[in-house]
């Protein structure tokens, strides 16, 4: 194995895959660096599993290439690609004990041939079992395991071999909420310890944010954006990415750009939020836009706001007495943070303040990110 920091372990080059009428993957391009944990994030049915299966060799691309360590492997069977994979339903071999399940990848002909003089099977299995804390389960049958234990065994079987890349398909999806959170923390510890290259598919944005060195957001077979978690959150390439990253989801408010100024559509004369960051001259105009503001950047303090008015539909107050208010505006429901101890009543008409400099401007048609609002400029525009 060659190793330098910039080496690409896995690449997809214009890879497409179609199942009947469904375009599962559409001209996907992706480069996974050695040693990184790349999260494939997207709703179910977006093509995450197909992408992993292409890399593993369980599917062949209709067009485009799968490249592993610089070599095109389109024609190679799954058994020669040296990947490790977990399956969403764990796929533990029911006729084998936990120990035999974990040791199974070490017993293939290829693995035995390359294992000369290296660590013994027994100690390898024991080490990985200790890491996953399942050493006392080794002699059990797989039907004697709980869901969480099965998940660990499937991870152990995946991680036990020296794979070029580990492919993890929603490994935490079927665990209950508490265990999922615990495993996420533990998984992060393991990822940094193993220093292995991983592609990790999930639909849970918290998992993606917590585990990914980089995140690739995928929708309807298309890779929308590949970036660090921070940039995915701060500079989403499209409204979809913005909606995916963040909970509660980002508010989408209709607006327009006229004369270089961003206005709210449904606020009477059209309240001006500020200057558009990418306006090249003062007369710059753009058709309808969507202003994306996260609930934490929308506030209500009991007084006047940015001119975004709505009728209170729900008030959510947490244990620590902070809370949010859901208001129905001309652009649909908008969630805003309560910045005062006063509580609005159901049906009240409120004026929501928008943190202009934390807003994102998307084209309404293409939902692509256009730019931002320049802070301070709004004052001059009034």
């Amino acid at each position: 194995m060659t190793a330098s920091a910039a080496t690409l372990t896995v690449e997809l080059r214009n890879a497409s895959k179609r199942f009947g009428k469904i375009q599962a993957l559409d001209e996907a391009n992706l480069a996974v660096r050695e040693g990184e944990c790349l999260v494939i994030a997207g709703p179910s049915g977006a093509g995450k599993t197909t992408l992993l299966r292409l890399v593993a060799g369980l599917e062949k691309p209709d067009s485009g290439d799968v490249v592993i360590e610089g070599r095109t492997v389109n024609k190679d069977g799954a058994w020669v690609r040296r990947t490790g994979m977990t399956f969403e339903n764990y796929a533990l071999y029911p006729h084998l004990t936990v120990r035999d399940n974990i040791a199974f990848p070490l017993r293939s002909k290829a693995a035995r041939n390359s294992a000369n003089g290296k660590e013994s099977e027994e100690s390898r299995v024991r080490r990985i079992a200790e890491m996953l804390r399942i050493e006392e389960l080794l002699d059990r049958q797989t039907d004697q395991l709980s869901g969480g234990q099965r998940q660990r065994v499937s991870l152990a079987r995946c991680l036990v071999r020296e794979a070029v890349v580990f492919l993890l398909d929603e490994p935490l999806a079927h665990l209950d909420a508490k265990l999922r959170l615990a495993m996420r923390t533990e998984f992060k510890r393991m990822v940094s310890k193993l220093n292995a290259t991983m592609i990790y598919a999930t639909h849970d944005y918290r998992e993606a944010m917590a585990l990914g060195d980089r995140i690739a957001v995928i929708q309807e077979g298309q890779i929308i954006q590949v970036d660090t978690p921070k940039r995915i959150f701060d500079q989403p390439a499209s409204l979809l990415v913005a909606r995916f990253a963040g909970h509660p989801p980002i508010n989408t408010i209709e607006g327009s750009i006229e004369g270089g100024l961003v206005r709210l559509s449904d606020a009477g004369e059209g309240a001006v939020l500020g200057a558009y960051s990418a306006a090249d001259d003062v007369n710059f105009s753009h058709g309808p836009v969507i202003i994306g503001v996260r609930p934490m950047d929308c506030t209500w303090d009991g007084g006047a706001g940015s001119g975004l008015e709505g009728i209170v539909r729900a008030v959510k107050v947490r244990q620590d007495n902070t809370g949010t208010v859901l208001a129905e505006t001309g652009s649909g429901l908008v969630e805003a943070t309560l910045a005062t101890s006063a509580r609005p009543q159901f049906g009240d008409r409120i004026d929501i303040r928008i943190e202009e400099d934390r807003s994102l401007i998307f084209d309404k048609e293409s939902e692509r990110l256009l730019g931002r609002i320049v802070p301070g400029a709004s004052k001059g525009a009034h």
Partner: protein, 305 residues
């Protein structure tokens, strides 16, 4: 918080909770002997009698001396017990008839199940145009009544020089049982999750190794059940044994039984019943095994080692 919840999950499962629940307050209510229940049992007893009586009568007849049978006719209890009939038929028919039956049955069963399993696997796992049509065509071969092609088969067997040979029986039984073996095995193959095979592929095993190491072990119950059914078919087969083999040559047990019914001295009841019971014994044992398999099927197959 994370560690505690994890340890709970990792620790060995306790069986204590379960046992305390079992010794609960629920004293099992004794089943009441209502009129309906008694009637139901009466019907079952009569039914069992109707089914079992012929076997009893066979047993009784098989241990009576031939003279007693011909003079006293049928009785419910043997006047004297002798195993002469058994000694006689075993001496006369163990070789070749009984051995022929075993060889033809076992070899053709192994061939039919092995080939049927491979065919079922191919049809189930590889998608191709006309897949269902191929499957149905194979099954349709079984729908034809064997007697309809008995003469052509006899001519073919003769012309290739296999008349009155065990090989001919083995080939015929294999060919005739193959569609059924494939059809039964297909549903068993379908019940093996394809992810298991995919996982093994990713784990570095070639497709045929995956089939042998993952699929076949998980098909154990299916293979056993199919093999038993097919062995019984072959064991009981009479028509082809009659037309292509001879008694004393490659003839099987059913053929030997038939000769006892048509001997110059009339029907030899004692030896015939003895040989019939010998012929039924493997079938009974195998059916008992099937029942055992089916009742414990889930455990033996998919999930347990």
């Amino acid at each position: 918080m994370t560690t505690s919840s994890l340890e709970e999950n990792v620790g060995p499962a306790t069986s204590e909770t379960r046992s305390t629940v079992a010794i609960g307050d629920f004293s099992q209510e004794k089943a009441k002997w209502t009129v309906g229940r008694m009637l139901a049992h009466l019907v079952l007893v009569i039914f069992a009698f109707v089914i079992l009586f012929p076997f009893y009568w066979m047993l009784v007849t098989s241990v009576r001396p031939q003279t007693a049978i011909s003079t006293a006719g049928a009785v419910l209890w043997p006047e004297e017990i002798t195993f002469f009939n058994y000694e006689q038929v075993i001496a006369a028919h163990l070789y070749p008839a009984i051995m022929n039956s075993f060889v033809a049955g076992i070899v053709s069963t192994i061939l039919a199940v092995a080939l049927g399993t491979l065919a079922a696997y191919g049809l189930e796992r590889y998608r191709f145009r006309g897949r269902e049509d191929v499957a149905f065509f194979i099954l349709s071969q079984r729908m034809m009544p064997p007697i309809a092609i008995a003469i052509p088969i006899l001519l073919i067997i003769r012309s290739i020089g296999l008349a009155d040979s065990l090989l001919a029986l083995i080939l015929l039984y294999t060919v005739f049982n193959l569609p059924l073996a494939m059809w039964i095995m297909r549903s068993f193959v379908r019940s093996v999750p394809v992810e298991l095979e995919e996982a093994a592929l990713v784990d570095g095993y070639r497709p045929f190794t995956v089939f042998m190491k993952i699929t076949v072990p998980l098909l154990r119950v299916g293979v056993a059940v199919t093999a038993i059914f097919i062995f019984i078919f072959a064991w009981n087969e009479f028509l082809f044994a009659l037309i292509i083999t001879t008694h004393g040559g490659a003839g099987t047990l059913p053929l030997a039984l038939a000769t006892l019914a048509g001997s110059p001295w009339g029907i030899e009841w004692g030896p015939m019943m003895a040989l019939s019971l010998i012929a039924i014994l493997p079938v009974l044992l195998l059916y008992a095994t099937v029942v055992l398999f089916l009742s414990r099927g889930v455990n033996l197959g998919g999930v347990r080692g």
